[in-house]
Subunit: 213 residues, 2 copies
DNA sequence: TGGTGTAATTTGTCATTGTCCAGATCTGCG
DNA sequence: CGCAGATCTGGACAATGACAAATTACACCA
């Protein structure tokens, strides 16, 4: 995080040009988002944290929504990476991989709750950029691939429905947990077990729906 | 909606006392929320729509978050009512009732997408009032009851897990639909069918998990 | 009935915000 | 070396949430 320019700024006077302001704003904005929530997110505070004047961000992001869109886009990329990493780690059977993908999904959401809500929230529809859409699609395709591997011989329509089903269960569960509506008093350990149980039920249902009669 | 005072205001000069300002603010706020999104929600605009000065709301809501909390609380009450109404309408079997409850849930979310996100969003954690918590619990108990009826003989732990499962599927599906991540191009009709298919798969999984071996 | 305290509302103010603008400063290229 | 364009600063503007003080309507009690 703390880049070279911070030291430069601490020793001599700060250089007029930041050098990596765009990155710094995204990074500061991400932290700010988690700290203050969506309604507490502020362009000027991002600028302040990047040690830059309040108007500087304008040269890198046309508006506050542009910055949020960029943050959300990277969120999708990280989400996809987390899913893939977890799936690769436990690559025994297709079913286990699908469960693991779900674990990666939930872990990302738990680690970045506000960002997660920004990505999937209604606000995102207001600043939908092509990059954001593409990134979101990338994550979606992982769900499709995961289900495909579990029930390769099922008809396309059943697969489609099972993708809906799998994704909805995973997404819904972690969303409700983050909001405290599920397992409010549970320990993190118990909560993870609860999540795994749900994932197990989901995968079993998928297999049953897609398997031969 | 349009109350008596509107006519009074139109004919003679507006009375100094609004009479039902609290209600008017909640109602205006709700519309505003859907129109402009959470980030576009403004106390002053609510006041404007209630034909009242910008400082008037302060006597009824301590802060903007207080107003949002009230709106969210009523949302939960309506959500529960929608679930119950739909379940009562199709009261043939427990399974059908559980599906119908899910339909009611989704219909409410589809009709009030931003409000729905406010209720279940991360922002709600910042203004958690006792009333809000109670209202949320009321809706939760409907899920519990619905699952209970379908698998009355299952052990408590299985029931608990199936409540998680059922709620997560329903909540996740409609959330993803509202965000356009599922069935973006589908017609409303096709989308509803897709939702019903998912609900069917969910209920079947619940029955199978809770039934005798 | 009439006065008075209280609740509801308004106007004014302040710090903060997003966005725009003009000017200052730097960087890279010729 | 010089200059054009990118990058950053400082100031401005309207809008916002919150607060304080003044104003108005109402309810209740003497």
């Amino acid at each position: 995080m703390g880049g070279w320019w911070e030291m430069a700024r601490a020793q001599s006077s700060r250089p007029y040009h930041h050098g990596e302001l765009r990155e710094a704003l995204v990074s500061a904005g991400r932290k700010l988002l988690e700290e203050r929530g969506i309604r507490g997110f502020t362009l000027r505070e991002c600028a302040r944290r990047a040690s830059v004047s309040h108007a500087a961000p304008a040269h890198h992001f046309a508006s506050i929504d542009d910055l949020l869109a960029e943050i959300a886009t990277r969120g999708y990329q990280e989400l996809a990476a987390a899913m893939e990493a977890e799936a690769k780690r436990a690559a025994s059977t297709p079913a286990a991989r699908l469960v693991a993908q779900g674990v990666g999904y939930m872990a990302f959401a738990a680690a970045n709750p506000v960002l997660f809500q920004l990505m999937f929230g209604r606000e995102a529809n207001r600043f939908e950029t092509p990059a954001l859409k593409a990134a979101a699609k990338g994550a979606y395709l992982l769900h499709v691939a995961g289900v495909e591997e579990v029930i390769p011989q099922a008809p396309a329509e059943v697969k489609q429905r099972m993708v809906d089903f799998a994704w909805a269960s995973i997404h819904g569960f972690i969303t409700l947990v983050l909001e405290g509506q599920i397992g409010d008093g549970d320990s993190p350990r118990a909560l993870k077990a609860r999540g795994l149980a749900m994932l197990g039920a989901m995968v079993e249902a998928v297999i049953r729906a897609g398997g031969d009669p």
